[in-house]
Symmetry: C2
Subunit: 182 residues, 2 copies
Amino acid sequence: MAKEKKLDCVILGLLSHEALTGYEIKKRMDTTLHSFWGASYGSIYPTLNGLMKRGLAIQHMDASTKRQKIRYAITPQGHAYVKDWLKQPATIHEVRYEMLLKIFFGAELGAEQALKHIRAFQEDIQQELTALRAMEDILKACLQEDKAHSYYLLTVRFGIQTYQAYLAWCEEATSFLSEGGN
Amino acid sequence: MAKEKKLDCVILGLLSHEALTGYEIKKRMDTTLHSFWGASYGSIYPTLNGLMKRGLAIQHMDASTKRQKIRYAITPQGHAYVKDWLKQPATIHEVRYEMLLKIFFGAELGAEQALKHIRAFQEDIQQELTALRAMEDILKACLQEDKAHSYYLLTVRFGIQTYQAYLAWCEEATSFLSEGGN
DNA sequence: CTTACCATGTAAGGCGTTACATGATTCA
DNA sequence: TGAATCATGTAACGCCTTACATGGTAAG
């Protein structure tokens, strides 16, 4: 297993817990995994297809509704694939904050502009933090229901601590710039 | 200015402070901007070329050495382009941590494996933090030399506070998993 | 003399987003 | 009946990384 496509692994990981539709996978990306991974429909559906062709997942039509609904389940090969990936050291650490770019070049336009970017960022993060805290409460309430919940909680805690640090920085940076940056 | 390619902006931003070669730009990416943006030679050189063709940067051969050396400077149009970009709200906030993916799916292999991933992460971050603290010291020592230094310092502070939060999480997560995750 | 670093670039190919296209169902 | 959400997908296109290819220079 040299260069696995990470989306293969993420989706297989989700499927290893329960069978899901493409739509549901996207939901997970936008909620549970949102603070550290993302994906669009345009990558999810083709990936699901590839997984099927390689025998790592199988689809079965959900006949419970009239609506077209394709549910994907992991195969034993898929399961082996995830486990193998989970054992390898993690290589991808990527962060891209356009806001920080604008702060870095902030001298060009001055403190007013920079403060605006910080405020916008602060508001975004505050919202993310609220969402994560809600998830934290839910997870804490059902920790013993499933061993996996402890691991989910760990990633939520990571997000919370990170976002708190962001907010602390926002305050520090705001003071610094308000006092003339010295 | 609808969808600017961010690398255009980053490079132009760097050039707005001083004329640089492609190699020097890559250096900045790997040091100063490293904690919140990245780029490879394979994207830097072609971008520099595009910037030239659009009249946003000009190149002048550096005759001071026998070695081939192409230094790029920003044009007034390039400068206007950066300023305009700096005024727009930031849109890109991207974080991808493969380590967190492996923690999220951690129940699959158990606490031992998860702890290994955490330890590796912790070591990486500790190194990054050391590098950032060194940059912080340097910047603090020459804050008044250039107004831009205050803004650079702000981004370094962001990295430091973020990484400290990561390390705090590592400790929390390690205790949690060592005590059986409850 | 050879290692490390300076220096520039290209080609192939992967990965992923955006926008588009379509339609069912539920709820107010 | 209209809006929101459920649900699946494709096509175009852009962006970037990796690997490759080449050579100069400085220091030990």
